[in-house]
Subunit: 431 residues, 2 copies
């Protein structure tokens, strides 16, 4: 162990995660020195406005707007600005200057991961990103290293705390989506503009990252089918409970023969599945591997100090490796499996239809299902209301998304069908 | 990536784990080459008797009894023999010869971990042991690397599948301990001699390993207080349920101020705690860290092919690091915190007493509690049987183990107390 060694750290960004990383680095410098075998020195924090108010008081002399100069003096660059630019350019410059990089930037990795991994490998630098998925939950390193000798068949992830909080409230308190979102915003679980969460884009980026690591195959975020929770109704939640399920927004990564799929949508999960017990704003990632069998990783998926834990894990263990003189593991995207078209994905469905309660409706609906090759497994009709409108909830056997799409179009065209009120897929069952 | 490179692997032992490791190495050689950037070649399997029947058919030409010679030709030695000797001597020789080592040997690590870690660091070799705790569940690497920048406050682990299966049956089916153990043995969950499992020694070794990593402090297995499940009765299980708890055999590693404790005993866990839902032979490790908050790692804790997944994860990711030219992370046991005497550990208790149902008994019991400074929180008396014997179940507030020990002795000395039928501690609550 080289006592005199110092690892110089440049921090980019001092938001909710960055300010916690700075605080912990300053408070626990002695502990980290012992663990890493070198002093981990925070040499500067790049911010847009050094005078802006922050959650955590940071030494004024560390704050700088000269990010370019800061990067060039660093052994490690910790990027916590978020967004594509300028983060992408800065990380590129850091790697090119020989620095190792730690980032929590899921958008950047989902859109530009492969080019950054290639660059890191070319220049012999490390790019760590444990904090990009699941906040404090260890998932990137377990997938990359612990399961390096196994075959990952499926990942079902609750990777967005905001939507899990909202859906959990709808189940446990019977709230509507709007009410639940309103309270999530009040309590700080949802951001002022919750679009990225409730439309599923946050989960979509994480699914792209997880699928790429799990399958050693670049899965572009554009190839991840994405539906958010905005269409989920209190009626669907109640129907799910009646059929022994819980509605969860899932990031799904699946190996299908010699091809792969990644997708995000609200799905029915059997109430006995470990994911069904993940409450509030927590995250959990359920992994099925050929030899290991089912595994689950559970914890807080977001939050400044929680995410800072993951960032510091990368930094301190990375610094130790740095001191010992060797590189890390690098990425391997060599399997290069094809990505299955979403239309070919097969699941079973719970379809809610608003219909006129009149003779012949059932027959025409049943015929339409048969015509599209979608086989009905369960059937429930609620009593008609005063205006003669009834709700049908139809559970299907497994069918392809393409068949489902045709079926939904055809159902919509039946005059007595007011509308297809909702479609939920069933996940977490053995197929 | 060096296309011509080959990593030579010597396997020691071909039991239930070893034979699966051999099979998977042979079957997935191409996949592993892609991931590691080098051919991972199984050069030999050291066994006592090459002609012995095995679960998996292995190429006869790989089997050898000349373990010393095999080790000297290897880049990686995978030790899956178990037990202290000859494993200890062979791993020592392997490290000294410059080979990296992968082992699943919890007994060896619990008793001789520090000397082996020191040797590995001295010679610049790696010692991997993810498979030693939790079977396929990633826990060693998450603790060592993901949480390297955090402070681990507590670990509550269900780390023995046999005892979890037995206790789970007692809860769900109302079986007695004997009946449940008999069925566990029939189904292969328990070994012919289940002593190491049901007396808690297996969990004790794992607790020593987890505590040492979590607290960067050598916690000798002899300092891990250990009680097994042999004293757990169907009545205690029923009492636990009535008070909203589940009985689990826990490996507990705890930071108490600037000192640490590791201990194993059957404990009451609140029914809503994530550990309470861990059924059958599964394992789960619940970790509380200062910044990350609560995390849980769940999966199959044993089984040949599951444990082989963890071994191969170490081997393939280690081989990749080997190819890239650098060392791994090494151990850090530098914190060297004191270990708290078990007598000073404070929990709350559920104490079952068999008593004579006669005047004055309650008064003398209550006085005895007060004399020992143990405060009663709940109290339940079952109706006396035909012989005038009743059962008292007393829940306490927090008290030190030392006080409890004195209390139990004093209770035993009360003439009207037949015996202290059981003591269970409560864990998994915020203190």
């Amino acid at each position: 162990m080289n006592e005199a060694r110092t690892i110089k750290v440049a921090l980019l960004g001092a938001g909710s995660v960055g300010s916690q990383v700075a605080r912990l680095l300053l408070e626990h410098a002695d502990d980290f020195e012992q663990r890493a075998g070198a002093r981990i020195e925070l040499i500067g924090i790049a911010v847009r406005d050094p005078e802006a108010p922050r959650d955590v008081e940071l030494p004024r002399e560390l704050l700088t707007t000269d990010v370019e100069r800061l990067i060039l003096s660093a052994d490690f660059v910790v990027e916590l600005m978020g967004g594509i630019e300028p983060a992408r350019g800065l990380i590129t410059r850091a790697l090119e200057s020989g620095a190792d990089v730690v980032t929590a930037n899921k958008a950047l990795l989902a859109h530009h991961g492969p080019e950054l991994f290639d660059l890191a490998e070319r220049v012999g630098a490390q790019l760590y990103y444990e904090a990009a998925v699941g906040g404090a939950i260890p998932i990137i390193r377990p997938l990359r290293e612990n399961l390096a000798g196994d075959r990952i068949d499926r990942i079902l992830g609750i990777v967005n705390g905001t939507t899990n909080y909202i859906l959990d409230r709808m189940h446990t308190l019977g709230d509507s989506l709007e009410e639940s979102l309103r309270i999530a915003t009040e309590l700080g679980y949802a951001e002022a503009d919750p679009t990225a969460d409730i439309e599923g884009h946050d989960a979509q980026q994480k699914a792209a990252i997880l699928a790429s690591i799990a399958f050693h195959t670049h899965v572009p975020v554009e190839r991840v089918h994405c539906e958010g929770i905005t269409g989920v109704t209190a009626a669907q939640i109640a129907e799910a409970e009646r059929s022994g399920h819980v509605v969860k927004l899932l990031a799904i990564c699946e190996r299908i023969g010699e091809a792969v799929s990644a997708r995000v949508y609200p799905a029915l999960v059997p109430a006995a599945h470990p994911l069904a017990s993940v409450h509030g704003g927590n995250n959990a990632i359920f992994v099925e591997a050929a030899a290991a069998g089912p595994l689950m990783f559970y914890g807080a998926g977001a939050g400044g100090v929680q995410t800072a834990s993951a960032v510091l894990g990368d930094l301190v263990s990375g610094a130790r490796r740095h001191v010992l003189g060797g590189p890390g593991t690098g990425e391997s995207m060599d399997a290069d499996l094809p990505i299955v078209d979403f239309a070919e994905i097969r699941t079973s469905y719970q379809i809610s239809l608003a219909v006129a309660d009149e003779p012949g409706v059932l027959a025409s609906i049943a015929t339409t299902f048969a015509d599209h090759g979608v086989s009905v497994a369960t059937f429930e009709q609620s009593p008609a209301d005063d205006e003669g409108r009834a709700t049908l909830v139809i559970g299907t056997h497994e069918a392809a998304e393409g068949a489902l799409r045709g079926l939904v179009e055809a159902l919509t065209a039946i005059p007595a069908v007011d509308r297809v009120a909702g479609v939920l897929r069933v996940e977490g069952v053995n197929r």
